[in-house]
């Protein structure tokens, strides 16, 4: 069989499976809680692996490899921060309380939680608008990443690659809702993990083992094996924080905790998510190995595709490509459902006060997720040149708005309505202004954004009226 034939066969089987999951999930859907949260009935394995799949997008695999290529072995630290802060601590600190609090408050979305927890309806619309606007930007970069992976490995024109992968995701999300998203995510995590492990074994073999890779990098430049090495401390720490602590404010990830069957799911889930999340380190490691094997690359983002072609057979390459596509699709699908929830539930139903029947909510949700998907697709066909910059921009904006209100909402009774509103507004404004003036001192807008939103939340809360005791007692389960 020809190389392209193998790629097409593997990807066609894979696509069939995804759409099949969408169709099965659609048969189990009766109301809007099913569409958004799978009826809060999802178990530990599916929740944890779909969390990992939504966390690591194609941008992370290709871009992470690029960082490993440019900065060398100290990039392993970014992977370590992902596992420790982005996965294990996120599950331990957020999981239990998010599940309990959102069930008590009867909310299904992050904006909904903020509004009910702080009795602040402005927070709902504000967060919903920020989330939908900036997640669309994130979507565009995910599609772009997948398009380039198809293009680089299979020679399919970029536009067809984007249209094809976008259409498949929109189909299964609008059909099957959240259940389709988590079940496909669960499956995609396996494909991603298998693809990454396959590539790692092959590249370690090609380079002659980890010791040989380190020795070769050391000979090129000691900065490629030392920490912080080529990164420098400021770069390494601020980048690690964005891609690991930033997760705590990203609704497509925190929503996983809303939907679990019970808090006991966290017991197995935390361990599975942490082990699955540890594969975050592999793109960085492979990127560094690619530096040894192909030191001449003009563009660091080509590190992973080039390595794949060089060390894997066509079958291995096809599986790895399926893994990259899986990473992109699962993140895109998760983002799609969150945006649809923000628009239908938070803006239309609660913000504009439109009364909708249950079946109408499901219908509108399907419609909106399709529309958001199509808008992202349309932008991705001719993406803005600065799409990678926009990705970091969208993470910074969403985290600066949602991270502290979410965390303090779970742990601090003294946080007030005005504290949260000012934290959201000032956090977003400072992140955007900082990026707008060209990110002085090489510091990303995420850092001033979360620092100012933290200060605003604490200081304003201390000087404004606390929420009623009976409300707090209900939220914290003390009644």
């Amino acid at each position: 069989m020809s190389e392209i034939g193998i790629y097409i066969l593997v990807l066609a089987l894979y696509t069939l499976l995804l759409v099949g999951i969408g169709v099965i999930a659609s048969k189990r859907m009766k109301n809007s809680e099913d569409f958004y949260l799978g009826g809060r009935s999802v178990g530990p394995w599916v929740t944890s692996l779909s969390f990992v799949a939504a966390y690591f997008s194609s941008v992370v695999i290709i871009g992470g490899g690029g960082f490993g290529y440019r900065f060398g072995m100290s990039s392993i630290w970014v992977g370590a921060a992902n596992v420790l802060i982005g996965v294990a601590l996120a599950w331990m600190v957020l999981g239990r309380r998010i599940r309990l609090f959102t069930a008590r408050l009867g909310t299904m979305t992050v904006p909904g939680f903020l509004a009910e927890r702080f009795k602040a309806k402005e927070a709902r619309v504000f967060a919903a608008l920020v989330i939908s606007l900036f997640l669309i930007i994130y979507n565009v970069s995910i599609l772009k990443g997948m398009g380039h992976a198809f293009e680089g490995l299979m020679g399919i024109p970029y536009i067809w690659a984007v249209l094809l992968s976008g259409a498949i995701i929109i189909l299964y999300v609008s059909l099957g809702g959240y259940l389709a998203v988590v079940w496909t995510g669960f499956f995609q995590a396996w494909v991603m993990g298998f693809g990454l492990i396959l590539l790692t074994f092959a590249s370690l073999k090609a380079v002659g083992g980890l010791t040989a890779a380190n020795a070769a990098l050391q000979a090129m430049s000691p900065g490629l094996v030392n920490t912080p090495g080529e990164w420098g401390w400021a770069g390494l720490i601020s980048y690690s924080m964005i891609v690991s602590f930033g997760v705590w404010g990203m609704p497509q990830l925190t929503v996983r905790f809303y939907s679990i069957k019970s808090v006991s799911v966290l017991r197995v889930g935390t361990v599975v998510a942490t082990i699955g999340g540890s594969m975050a380190v592999l793109p960085y490691l492979n990127g560094a190995i690619a530096r040894v094997l192909h030191p001449e690359l003009a563009n660091a983002d080509l590190a992973i595709p080039t390595l794949t072609k060089a060390v894997l057979s066509p079958w291995g390459g096809a599986i790895f490509l399926a893994g990259v596509i899986a990473a992109g699709m699962s993140t895109f699908a998760s983002v799609l459902i969150i945006t649809s929830g923000a628009v239908v539930r938070d803006v239309v139903q609660k913000g504009l006060g439109r009364q909708l029947e249950e079946h109408q909510v499901v219908r509108y949700s399907r419609l909106v997720s399709t529309l958001v998907g199509i808008v992202s697709l349309a932008i991705a066909l001719r993406p803005p040149a600065l799409v990678l910059v926009l990705t970091a921009f969208s993470w910074a904006a969403i985290s600066s708005t949602c991270l502290w209100p979410m965390l303090f909402g779970l742990y601090w009774k003294r946080a007030t309505r005005w504290g949260v509103l000012s934290s959201m507004g000032l956090g977003l404004a400072s992140a955007l202004i900082w990026i707008g003036i060209g990110s002085p001192y090489g510091l990303h807008g995420f850092i001033p954004g979360i620092l100012i939103s933290l200060l605003a939340l604490v200081l304003v809360s201390l000087f404004t009226k606390r929420l009623p005791d009976d409300h707090l007692a209900r939220v914290f389960g003390e009644q």
Binding site: V83, L84, R267
Partner: protein
């Protein structure tokens, strides 16, 4: 130099990853003994 000719500070990143997995296992065993679902 640490194992695999990795400088110690870089090698420590691998230790953090392994430590995180052990921490998650310990948390799930110990943390849930004391608590019950509400």
């Amino acid at each position: 130099m640490g194992p695999f000719q990795t400088p110690w500070l870089t090698f420590f990143a691998w230790v953090v990853i392994a430590g995180t997995i052990l921490m998650a296992i310990a948390w799930s065993i110990l943390g849930f003994r004391k608590r019950e679902d509400r």
